[in-house]
C-alpha cells in the first residue's frame, strides 16, 4: 500500500487544530484582517502546514464558516425535532441560542450573521443555511397549526421568518451588539408578544 494511509494515531488532529485556530481568528476579525500566518501561529504550526490541509485561505474560511454554521444548524435541528408543544419549543430555541452565543463567543453571531460581504460565494452559503433552518421552523409551525396550537390562518412562512429574526436579530442583537443581559423575564415578554401579538382587543 504505497504512500501509507491515514494520519497516524495522532488522527486528523493537525487539520482540526488548524481549523479551530482559524475559527478562533475569524471570530475575532474579518476575513481580510486575518492572516494565514496568524492562523498558523495560533495553531502552532508552520505556515506551509496550513496549505497541507487547506488549499487556500478562502477554502479555510469556508470550512471555518461551515463549522460554525453547523453549530447553529445542529442547535436548531435538535430543538425543532422534539415533540414538545410549539410554544415550548420556541422558548427553548431562544434559550438554547442564547446559551450558544454565550458559550461559543458572542462573535459566532457575527460570523454567521455578517459574513464578509464580498466573497459572493459566502452569501449563497449563508442563504442556504438560513433556508434550511427556515424550512425546519416552518415545518414546526405547520405541525403547530395541525395540532391547533397555532392559528390556522397563520402565514407560516412569515411566521417562520419572524422566529428566525427573533433569534438572530433580537437575541443576537441584544447579546452581541448591545452586550445586554437577557433575562428570563425578557424572553417571557418576547414569547408573549409572539404568541399573543402586540395589539389590544379594544381597538381591533
Amino acid at each position: 500500500m504505497p504512500g501509507g494511509g491515514n494520519r497516524n494515531n495522532a488522527g486528523g488532529d493537525k487539520k482540526e487544530q488548524i481549523l479551530l485556530a482559524a475559527v478562533e481568528m475569524f471570530l475575532d476579525k474579518d476575513y481580510y484582517q486575518v492572516t494565514i500566518t496568524e492562523i498558523a501561529e495560533q495553531a502552532g504550526v508552520g505556515k506551509g502546514t496550513v496549505y497541507e490541509y487547506f488549499s487556500s485561505k478562502e477554502d479555510l474560511f469556508k470550512e471555518s464558516f461551515s463549522y460554525c454554521a453547523d453549530l447553529y444548524l445542529q442547535l436548531f435541528q435538535q430543538h425543532l425535532s422534539t415533540a414538545a408543544p410549539v410554544k415550548q419549543t420556541m422558548s427553548d430555541l431562544i434559550l438554547a441560542h442564547l446559551e450558544l452565543l454565550r458559550e461559543n463567543r458572542q462573535r459566532l453571531y457575527l460570523l454567521f450573521n455578517e459574513r464578509p460581504l464580498s466573497l459572493q460565494e459566502m452569501q449563497g452559503w449563508v442563504i442556504e443555511k438560513r433556508r434550511k433552518i427556515l424550512k425546519g421552523i416552518t415545518a414546526l409551525l405547520q405541525e403547530g397549526i395541525e395540532s391547533e396550537e397555532l392559528r390556522p390562518e397563520l402565514d407560516v412562512e412569515m411566521a417562520g421568518r419572524l422566529l428566525l429574526a427573533v433569534n438572530f436579530d433580537v437575541i443576537g442583537g441584544m447579546v452581541v451588539l448591545d452586550d445586554q443581559d437577557v433575562s428570563e423575564e425578557k424572553i417571557a415578554g418576547l414569547i408573549d408578544i409572539i404568541w399573543n401579538g402586540v395589539g389590544s382587543n379594544k381597538h381591533v
Copy 2:
C-alpha cells in the same frame, strides 16, 4: 439651506461629489474591494483630491456609512412621528422600508446590516444608529399603549426590538438574501402575526 441655490460642480461641492461616489461604490462592493482610485474616478476627481476632503479611506467609509444610516433614520423618524394609528404606522414602516431597499439598491441593507466586521469602531456606529431607531419605535409603542391600541402589559423594549428585527431581518432578508418579491399579502400576514400573535385560542 446655507448658500442657497442649486449646486453645480462649480460650487465647493467636491466633498459631496466624492461622498456620493463613495456611497455608490460601497453599496456595490465591500470595504476591502472598493479602492480609493475607483471612488475618485467615479467622482470624476483626482485621487489626491479625495484626501483633501477625507483624511483616510476609513474616514470616507464612515461618512458614507453615516450617510446611508441617516437615510434609514429619516425614514423611520418620518413614519414614527405621525399621528396615525400604531398598526398603520407599523405597516407603513415596512412598506417604506421595502421601497427604500428597492430604490437604493438592495445593498443598502448589507451596508447597514453587515459592516466590515472588525473595524471595531463601525460596530459602535451601527449600534448607535440602531439604538436611536429603537428608541423611536419604543416611544411609538408606548404611545400605542397609552392610546390603548396596544396591550398594556407589553414589554415595549422587546416589542420594539421585534419590530426592528422584522424590518431588518425579515424584510431585508427577503428582499436582499432571498431576492424575493414581497407581496402586500405577505406583509398583511406579517402584520397580522405581530398584531395578533401566532397562538390559537384553543390551547391557551
Copy 3:
C-alpha cells in the same frame, strides 16, 4: 483635458529607465531568477513604480525581450536592404552581428537564442522573430540567384536557414559560449565555406 497628458518633459523616461534595467537583469539571469525588486532597485525606482508602467513581470519580460529582439531585427534588416553583392552582404551581416554581440553584452545572444523555455508564449515570440529574419535572408538569396551571383539550383530556404545558423550558432557560439576572439581570417574562412562548400573537386 482631465488627467493631464504625456509624462512631463522628463519624457517616458521612467518607463524606459525601468525597461533598460530589466533588460540589464534579464541579460544576466533567467526569468525566474530576476526579481521585480531587483529590477526596481536597478532602475532606481520603487517596486510599485514598476507596476505603474508594466502590468506584470511577464509583461515586463516580454517588452525587454522585444526590445532586444528588435536590435537584431534592425541589424538584419539594415544589412539585408542594401544593394551590395550577396557575398558582401553575408560577410557584413556576420561582422555586424559580431559587433552587436560585443557591444550589447554577449548575453544578448542568450536572451534571444535561449528563451525561458516554459513561458510558452515566448516560444512563439522567438519563432516569429526568427521567421521575419529568415524571410529577409531568403529574399536576399533569391535576388542573388536572379543576379546570378548564386547557383540557380539553390534551395533558398535551406540556405537561408544555414545563414541564420551561421550567425546565431556559429558566431554566437564562438563569442558567447567559447568566449573566443573571432578574427577576420576566421570569418573569411567561414564565408569561403559558405560560398564554395567544403567538398573538393577531386572526388565529386
Copy 4:
C-alpha cells in the same frame, strides 16, 4: 556490466528509476516548472527517496541533462567513427539527429540547446559537451582533407562549427521551433549547399 542480469525494480535501481523520471519531466517542462514531488510521483517513489540518491534538485537536473547530452554524444561519436566517406557521414549525422529528435521528444533539443540560463554551471556543461562533439567533427573533417574528399584549404574549425550549427540550429530549429516536416529532399539540398557552397561560378 557490473552485477549483470536484467534490472527489475527489485534491484538497487531506484536511482536510475528516479533519473529516468526526472529526464521525462525535464523534457516536458523547464527546470522551474518541474517539482521534486512530480518527479517522485513519476518515479513511483517517495519524495524523500529522491534525496537519498540526489543531493538536490540542481544535482538531479545536472545528471538528467548529462544523461541526455550523452545520447547526443553517442550519436555523434557513433557516426563520426565510421569509415564512410565524409559526405555520407555528414548526411547520416543529420538523418540520425532528425530521428533522435523525433524519437526522444522534440524537447531534447530544448533541453540541450536552451538550458536554464543562469544556472551558470549549466553553461559550462553545455560548452563542454559541444566542444567534445566539435572535436570529433573536426577530426572527421581533417581526415576528409587528407583523403582529399575535402578541399585542402578548408578552415576545419569553422567547417566543424558550421556542421554543428547545421545540426543544432538548422535541423533542430526546423523540427522543434517550426515544427516542420524535414523531407529527404530538403536534407539533400542542405548537403548540397554544404558541399558545393552557395556561390555560382559565373561571378567568381
